[in-house]
Each structure stands twice: as C-alpha cells, then as structure tokens.
C-alpha cells in the first residue's frame, strides 16, 4: 500500500520544515527559536520522509551520514568557542561583527550564532542517527 497522501504531504512539507528550521535557528538570538528547536524540526523533516517512503530514501535525501552531521556540529561549536582564544580573549567570549547587506539592512553576526549552528547540527545529527538506525531498512 502506498500512502499517497502522506508522501505528497511529505514532499511538500520537507522543504518547508527545513526552511522553517533555518528560520528558527537564525532568529533565535532575538526572537523565540534557536539551534536546539531548529535541529529538532530539521530532523522531523527527514523523519517524515522516512515514514512516508523508507529509510534508504531518507538517507538519500539527506545525502550525508547523520553521524557526520553530529561530528561536524561538535567541531563547529568548538571552533566558535576557540575563536576568541586566538584573539587573546577568554574561551567562549562572544566575538561580534556587523555587516551591511544590500536588501536586508544591517546584520549582526557573532560567534554565539555560529555556536548555535553547531547545536543545530548536533541535535539534528543525533536524532537522525538514532531514528534511522532504529527504523532499520
């Protein structure tokens, strides 16, 4: 039996969920959101895909091993923490820079946001590692 409605919904929802998760990640510092919930929602996108189709399909759609995501996330978080050390400040001191973007106006970027990206990747990677392995093939 092919769950047609679920598959169609999943195809439509997956990009939306991913977009939403990145939206949450980026606004997290100012408005409700953040890396943790963003990572969970990004994982949901692929969980949905795996339920609608199969695990192999979800792995293909992900196109990267979720364990790699976890490791990359840890590395990103750690390097954001170390950046301040290279500048001679204490570990994890926030380093901020401002950029003027053509359409969006001023944008503030800092190492805590990079750290949040690390959190996002770790959460997404871990949930998917466990889920895809549990679900089997």
């Amino acid at each position: 039996m092919s769950p047609l409605i679920l598959r169609t919904a999943s195809d439509l929802l997956r990009p939306l969920l991913l977009l939403f998760s990145i939206f949450l990640l980026l606004r997290g510092h100012q408005e409700p959101g953040g890396g943790f919930v963003g990572g969970l929602i990004a994982a949901c996108a692929y969980v949905l895909h795996a339920i609608a189709y199969d695990v192999a399909g979800a792995r293909r759609a992900l196109s990267i091993d979720p364990k790699t995501l976890t490791g990359t996330g840890l590395a990103v978080a750690l390097s954001s923490a170390l950046l301040s050390v290279t500048l001679g400040k204490d570990l994890m001191t926030g380093v901020w820079g401002k950029a003027e973007l053509p359409f969006f106006g001023p944008l503030e970027l800092g190492t805590p946001m990079i750290f949040d990206v690390g959190v996002y990747l770790v959460v997404m990677g871990t949930v998917l590692t466990v889920f895809l392995e549990l679900r089997g093939d």
């Binding site: 949450l24 409700p32 959101g33 953040g34 949901c44 946001m113 089997g136």
Partner: protein
C-alpha cells in the same frame, strides 16, 4: 606497526635523545661542583602559585647524569636487542618519554610539576613493561606496577600539597626550614603520604612485589627503569625531602625500619628464584631497602654512604641486567643452572660479569666495596643501630652468594645443555656492560674522579656542605670484619646452591606475602563494585526509574521541608480554556495507567505532553513550547519504533503489591512537583537576581533580545558545549548498541 617490518629505519636517531641530554648537562658541572644550583622558571598556573620551576643542584645533577648517561648506553643496547621485535617505534617512543619525564622529575622544583613527571614515569613504565602486550604475563605485570605506583603517586600528591599548604610555597627548595612546619599537626599526615609515594615507587616492603614481576619487560627496560633509574625515584624524593622533613616525628624511624625490612625481604626472596633477572630484581629491592635505611638514619656519614651506594648499585646492576639479557639472547635461557662453560665462547661477557659481580658482592677493589664499608661504618659505631648491622651482614651475604651464582655459574664448569649454540654478543650489546663494569671498578681505584660529583649530591641531600671521601682502606675494625665475614658466608652459601644446582629456598618460602593480599584485594574490588552497582542501578528499567524517583523526591522534598518556604494554597484565576487543558492532561495521564497496550500508552502520554505544551503557550514561554512540541512528537515516534523493533508490544502486569508501591512513589513525586510549582508561583515576587542580571545584560553585552537563547549559547555556553557533547556521545552509544545487537527483529 610498520616499524617492525623496516629493520633499517634510522634507529640511530633515537640515541640522539640521551646523547643530547648528557651533552646539555655536562657543561653545568663546574657550577654544580662549586656547590651552587641553577634555577629556571616560567609561569604555569599563576593564580595557584604553580610554576614550571626547574632546579639543578648536586643531587639533581647526579641523578640526571645517571639517567642520561646510562640512558645513552641503554639506547645503544636496545637498538640491537629489540632489532627483531615488532613495535620498535612504540618501544623507543616510550623509552624516550620515560627518560624525559625522569629528567623532569629530578629537575623539577615545583611540587606539582614533580608529581606530573612522577606519574609520567609510572605511565611510561606501564607501557614498557607491557610492551609484549600479547602475553598475558606482561599485561598483568604492567597493570600491577601501574596500580601500586599509581596509588602511591596519589598519596604523594596529597602529601606534597599538604606540605606546600603548611609552608606556603610550592617550591621544594624554599620549604626547608620553613617556620611552623615541624610543629604543625598536619605534618605527620604529610610524612606518611610522602613515604607511601616513595615506598611504592622504590619497591619497599610490603609494596615490593611489583618489581620482580616487572621483569616481564624486555631487558633494556629492566636494566634502565627497574634497576638504575625509575625505582630510584623514591630514593631521590626521600633525599630531596630529607632537609625538609628530617626533623619531623617518624620520618627517620619509619624510613629506617621499612628500609631494613625491605633489605632483608628482598635479598631473602632472591634465594627462591631460578630466573637470573628475577634474582637481580630481588637484589635491587634489597639494595633500595638499604638506601632507604641509610636515609632514615640521616646522619652526615649516612647520606655520604647513600650517594656512594646508589651510584655503585646503578652501575653494577645496569651492567648485570644487560649481560643477562645478552646471555638470554645468545642461549635462550636465563636459568643459570642450564648454562655453564660460557667463558670460552663469551669471554668479554664473562669478564664484564665478573667485574660487576665483584661490586655487587661488595668485594675489593670496587665501588660496591666502598659502598658496603660506608654502610657498615654508619650502622656499626652507634649502639642502637647495631641491629641494622645484622641486616647489612645478612643482605651482604646473600648478595655475595648470588653475585657468585650470576658471574660464575653460567661461565665456568662444564658446558651446559643450553650453552651449545652460544656466541659472543655483538659490540652494541657489550659496550654498555663494558662501560658500566669498568665504572664499577675504576672510581674505586681513582677516587678523585668522582668525589666532587658525589660530594655535591650529598651536600644537597644534607642541606649543608659536606665532602665525600672515597677510600678502599678504612682501617682495621668491625666494619671490615663484618664485610669480610659476609663475603665468606656468601661463598659458603654459593657452595650450597652449587651443590643443589637449584634455588636455595623453596619457591613458596615463607608462605603467602603481601602480593597475595594485593591479589585478593584486586579480585574483591570489582565484585564489591558490581554489588554496589546492582543495588543502585537495577537491571530492569522500571526498578532503575523507581530508585531515581525516590532519591529525587527525598533530596528535593527534604530540602524543601527543612529550608522552606512552605507551599501556599493560593487561588489562581483560571480561564475556562485553561481548565479544559488541565482536564485533558489529567484524563490522558489516568488513561496511561489504565491502558494495557503499549502503543496506546505511548500515544496518550504524547497527548499529556502536548497538554503541558499548551500551558507553556498560555503562560508566555514560546521557546519552551516549541521545543517541547518537537520533543514530544519525536519521542512518540521513537518510542513507537523501539516497541515495534524489539517486539515489546505486550505489557506484563506487575503484582498488585508492586503497583501499590509504585502508586505511592509516583504520588509522592506528584505532590512534590505541586509543591514546587506552588512555591514558584506564590513564593517569589519579581525577578530573581540572576533573571535581573540576564535581562539587563543580554542585549547590551550579548547582542540578543531572546534571553533564553542568549543564556544557552552565550552566558552558559560551556554548559551547552558539555550538553551537546553528551548528546552526541549518547547518540553514538545508541547507534553502537543497535549495531551490536543480534538479529534485526530477534529476541535477545
């Protein structure tokens, strides 16, 4: 490892390390010889007063020269000795690490730096003893040595920290004569702890058993670590602490008694052994005991005797170990009774063995003789110490007997059964023993050559200037008679051994020793740990959760009951839709208890969670609500998957008694949560200090308006770093467990 397959790797490079260490040390001899010290320091942990502080004085210089000089010979020896073995790069790496940390140990002036080096020598010793890690015996011996010296190292750390807190400095050179040290009530504790460190490292009775077992290591390691250098670290530290603690109650007395017991236990045990390496190891234990005995006596003459005896021992014992290794290489056995007549094929080995054995036996003209005469010269004249003279006589007898056994039995007499295919060792295996054997004899004939070096070392240990006078002739007197008597009885004992052609004592003499106790403890420890674990972390998840809930309720509820505030029964203005949400939560929670099918339970629990999420939404915590929503969703999916995959759809009903207990425990937790919520809602007015701080500084210094997220990624960023690491590790752990699990859908 690739190294095993490439015998032509430039292994000469390894020899550079000890060579450069010696070359770097030698030029400072004029400064040291004139009684001064060199110091160098750099900040390490300035807040705690720890420094990379190094200090080179007479004592450090003597040890450093022994370490790098004998190291050089050992590295040359090991190049050939280890030629055919796998893992040579690993071996030489650890040997170099050992040498560096040993040099650090004797050069460091800061107590923490000394401790770190101390532990590094234990760790490198562990890897070197266990070099042939495929052999069960090597692994067990390595483990035992690490445990014994490691436990002693921890005691040492405590002792040194107590000492530095009493004296107010972490520099050893500044501790001597610190006011209030001797009267402080904590000083005896420091003495005991530091002695524990010294005695485990230097294999004093009753911790001596690890040293003979460490002979499982390749011979270069036995010759270097376990006779010449590492086992002398305890002696070094005792000497280093002597100016600081010699006035403390118990220091001298304990060292002297332990040393005497070790000297006897070590030498007597040597008579049980067949393997020449193990015989030499037990004699090393005996010699270390003698050194500790002398340090315990602590007079000027005693400390002079210590440095002479120490140098003599390092020279002849290093040589003998290397020679036994060479014989082992050539004949395949270390049992002297299987050998014989080797002097015809191995003349240089035989000659070196004779020279070193003269020193071991304490016969003239050798450094060993001067060392033994100095020892007897210290213990004989003072009447209360005459008992120690008996110890010196007995250990001297056994050392003489075994010196004859090691130097004569393999090389003289008829050709033994294992001697047939023997050949003389290569020059690289011989240059170390030749140098050390000559070193055992020559300084006794030319005393002026080393007197300056020894005097500087003895002065550092004594804390004031002293001169070591080496002489083969101390005049007629009891020390000479006792020394000659020991040689004579040693000869007689050798005669007995020669007639039996076997160890003089039975292998189990005198019954179970400290090692049996150690083995029993090591066996009991994991069993006790398993029992405790079983009590606190039950096999079944249900029991584990019950333990967790009970502890949580008692700890938090107890604190709340004692410290207050008591929960108030205030009224909350509730809207109808809030009441509906509460009804939903309660109904689904009751349903979760009543339902029998696990899928259904998971589903209604999910509904309970969503109800809680709604409350978060209504009370203005959108962050929490979003996260809770995503977590609830994923939890339901994951739980359902687990239940399906492991075929756990049926629930077994607990007994009614068990259910009553569970109901009670759960109710207690429920009441506690109610109390906490009530206190949180009614007990506090306004923002707490930390909330105030975060809301004020969040935007200003962390560039974010969302306080919750700023706390997570910035204010408490290190916590989050730890949390995501734990999350990642847990994920990998689940993955590994699932991968390791047997068939896909099978039962266990």
């Amino acid at each position: 490892m690739a190294s095993g397959k490439s015998p032509h790797a430039p292994s000469w490079l390894w020899v550079l390390a000890p060579f450069m260490a010696s070359a770097a040390l030698l030029p400072s001899y004029p400064v040291i010889g004139s009684g001064n010290g060199l110091t160098w320091s750099a900040p390490w942990v300035p807040g705690l007063g720890f420094q990379y502080a190094l200090r080179l004085d007479g004592l450090s210089f003597l040890f450093a020269m022994l370490i790098s000089g004998i190291g050089l010979l050992i590295f040359i020896y090991a190049r050939t000795y280890m030629a055919g073995e796998p893992g040579r790069v690993r071996f030489f790496s650890w040997l170099t690490v050992f040498m560096a940390s040993m040099l650090g140990l004797v050069l460091s002036d800061d107590v923490l730096l000394l401790f770190v080096c101390w532990e590094l020598t234990s760790v490198s010793s562990y890897f070197l003893i266990g070099h042939r890690h495929r052999e069960e015996g090597s692994r067990a011996a390595a483990h035992q040595a690490l445990m014994v010296t490691g436990i002693g190292g921890l005691a040492l750390l405590c002792g040194l920290l107590i000492l530095s807190s009493i004296t107010g400095t972490t520099r050893l050179s500044e501790m001597a004569g610190a006011p209030g040290l001797l009267g402080n009530p904590l000083t005896p504790a420091a003495v005991v702890l530091i002695l524990a460190g010294c005695c485990t490292k230097s294999a004093q009775w009753p911790f001596h058993f690890w040293l003979p077992n460490a002979m499982a290591a390749p011979t270069p390691v036995s010759a270097y670590l376990h006779s010449s250098t590492m086992v002398k670290a305890g002696v070094y530290l005792a000497l280093r602490c002597h100016p600081i603690l010699s006035g403390a109650p118990g220091w001298g007395c304990a060292l002297a008694w332990l040393g005497a017991a070790t000297a006897l236990a070590g030498t007597v045990s040597a008579l049980r052994e067949r393997d020449m390496k193990r015989q030499l190891a037990y004699l090393t234990v005996g010699a270390l005991g003698t050194l500790m005995l002398l340090i315990g006596l602590g007079s000027e003459k005693a400390l002079q005797a210590v440095v002479v005896y120490l140098v003599a021992h390092a020279l002849y014992k290093g040589s003998l170990f290397m020679l036994v290794g060479g014989v082992d290489h050539a004949t395949g056995t270390r049992d002297a009774s299987e050998l014989g007549g080797l002097r015809k094929v191995m003349p240089i080995t035989a000659g070196c063995a004779m020279a070193a054995a003269v020193s071991l036996a304490g016969a003239p003209p050798s450094m060993g003789f001067i060392g033994k005469e100095s020892l007897l010269g210290v213990v004989w004249p003072a009447t209360p110490d005459r008992l120690y003279a008996l110890v010196a006589y007995l250990s001297g007898t056994i050392m003489a007997a075994l010196a004859l056994w090691v130097a004569l039995r393999p090389f003289w007499g008829p050709t033994g059964k294992a001697s047939a295919k023997a050949h003389e060792s290569a020059w690289s295996l011989l240059c170390g023993p030749v140098v050390l054997s000559v070193g055992s004899i020559l300084p006794a004939l030319v005393p002026g050559s080393v007197e300056g070096l020894l005097s500087a070392a003895a002065s550092s240990a004594l804390g004031r200037s002293t001169h070591v006078h080496l002489s083969l002739w101390h005049g007629w007197g009891p020390p000479l008679w006792i020394g000659l008597a020991a040689l004579a009885t040693g000869w007689a004992l050798y005669g007995i051994a020669r007639r039996k052609d076997a160890p003089v004592l039975r292998a189990d003499f005198p019954g179970p020793g400290p090692e049996a106790l150690y083995t029993a403890c090591m066996k009991a420890l994991p069993e006790a740990a398993a029992r405790v674990t079983l009590c606190t972390q039950a096999d079944r998840l249900r029991d584990a959760i019950r333990t967790f809930v009970v502890v949580l309720t008692l700890a938090v509820g107890g604190t709340l009951a004692v410290r207050g505030p008591w929960p108030a029964l205030g009224s909350i203005a509730a809207h109808p839709h809030e009441i509906w949400i509460c009804v939903l939560i309660i109904v689904t929670a009751i349903a979760a208890i009543r339902l029998a099918e696990r899928f259904a339970i998971v589903a209604v629990l999910g509904a309970t969670g969503l109800g809680v999420t709604m409350i978060f939404v209504l009370y203005g915590a959108p962050d929490l609500a979003m996260t809770q929503f995503a977590v609830e969703t994923l939890t339901v999916i994951l739980l359902a998957l687990v239940l399906h995959r492991f075929s756990m759809l049926e629930t077994g009903r607990s007994s009614s008694g068990q259910r009553a207990v569970d109901l009670f425990v759960a109710s207690c937790l429920g009441v506690l949560m109610w109390a906490l919520a009530s206190v949180a809602l009614h007990g506090r007015q306004g923002l707490s200090a930390s909330s105030q701080y975060f809301s004020e500084t969040s935007l200003v210094s962390a560039h974010g308006r969302n306080i919750v997220n700023v706390i997570i990624v910035d204010f408490r960023g290190i916590d989050t770093m730890g949390e995501i690491t734990v999350l990642a590790v847990a994920g990998i752990g689940v993955y590994a467990l699932l991968k390791a699990r047997l068939p896909k859908d099978g039962q266990r």
